[in-house]
Amino acid sequence: MSENMTRRSVLKNLAGIVGGILAMPAARTCKAAVQNVLASSGAPKGYDPFQHKWLMALDVDRCIGCGLCVEACKAENSVPDGDFRTWIERYVITKADPASGKSRGETFVDSPNGGIGGFKTSLIPKEDILKSFFVPKMCNLCEKSPCSQVCPVGATFESPDGVVLVDKNYCIGCGFCIQACPYGCRFLNPTTHTADKCTLCYHRITRGLKPACVEICPSQARIFGDLKNPVPNDPLQAFIANNKVERLKQNLGTNPRVGYAGLDEEVR
């Protein structure tokens, strides 16, 4: 014990520590406010995530397999080559041999480079094809998303407006979410080393624009809308009303929100 450790000095030090701890929240709030003023210039102002519920629906019969949506997504979100936030799958189902007594032959699924550049070559001659179609795939916007359940740091989450997002500042790149997603919609971004996925173009929809893939799709195979603020002749409401809408892998209990019309039993 030093000699100058008096009651007065101990009390002074204690008061200093308590005062410091009490001042911390105020200082942090000030810092956050200053940061908001300086850094949020790019973010849209006046957007309330509780006033919206975004949803995308996909019409298989409308998809022409041009692959423009995949390219639009890549350009909009700087998606690295070889990774996809959305992609197009081609399903080819061959005719069954009548002797086999089956209703359909084999199913072939391919997605050359995610559908970028379109689907030019077909491995199966036209006369052997029973039916064939394109299926656009993307994040299914699950209500009980397995990807956010497994995240150990709370870096992926379901936003109040219905989008599953990744906080890349806090993602540690462990890849649990990539394994957890039953739809294969996530990838590890090789430049940021964090999990990456479809954000439903969050930076566009918060500004009142459509997601890039919806904007560019020439055939309206992708239908986008806000369930909380339906517009007159809302395309999403019309799509749900006029189609038999299904969802992918419902048996897994992830409660996917993205609806598909015209799905075949082969589509997983």
Binding site: I21, M24, R28, T29, A32, S40, G42, A43, P44, Y47, P49, D61, R62, C63, I64, G65, C66, L68, A72, A75, E76, N77, Y91, V92, G118, F119, K120, S122, K126, I129, S132, F133, F134, G154, A155, T156, F157, E158, S159, P160, L165, D167, N169, Y170, T199, C201, Y202, H203, R204, T206, R207, L209, K210, A212, E215, I216, C217, P218, S219, Q220
Partner: protein, 155 residues
């Protein structure tokens, strides 16, 4: 008061243990205070500021609405034909630079663009007009016979 006095009459090793426990709990909360970001838990089990951060990215595609501000005549024509579902940038390419500075012109388009969607493919739906580009027409340009902005008309 009586209880407090009894607490201090406890054996010193117990008092030390209690103080140590309080110290550890204080350390935990102090560390937690500094490690958990301020906006964590604002909307749920995540950083609330992440929403703003993700939304602050700048859009790449300008969108049909910004094209219509100047080119409404083209849009009216487009809305009457089968190409009414197309966005301007679907064919003309990204137009943000042109929107911000109309002096910047968009590149001219070529035949590969029409073929991209209208080339015959057994996987394509039946409602789509499809052609075999090798025997459909031997000339150079699709626009010799078709009007892209109103595909139902003949030039």
């Amino acid at each position: 008061m009586d209880k407090l006095a009894r607490f201090f009459k406890m054996p010193p090793q117990i008092i030390r243990l209690v103080l140590l426990t309080i110290g550890i709990i204080c350390c935990y909360f102090t560390a937690r205070y500094f490690l958990v970001p301020p906006s964590f838990g604002e909307f749920g089990h995540y950083r609330g500021d992440a929403l703003q951060m993700i939304a602050s990215r700048q859009p790449f595609w300008a969108g049909k609405a910004s094209c219509l501000e100047c080119h409404s005549a083209h849009a009216d024509k487009l809305a009457k034909g089968d190409h009414k579902t197309l966005s301007c940038e679907t064919c003309h390419g990204p137009g943000r630079e042109h929107v911000e500075n109309p002096v910047v012109k968009l590149p001219k388009l070529d035949v590969s663009l029409c073929v991209r969607c209208h080339e015959a493919n057994p996987s394509r739906p039946k409602w789509l007009h499809q052609i075999n580009p090798h025997n459909h027409y031997t000339g150079n340009l699709c626009t010799e016979c078709h009007v892209p902005h109103s595909p139902n008309d003949v030039p």
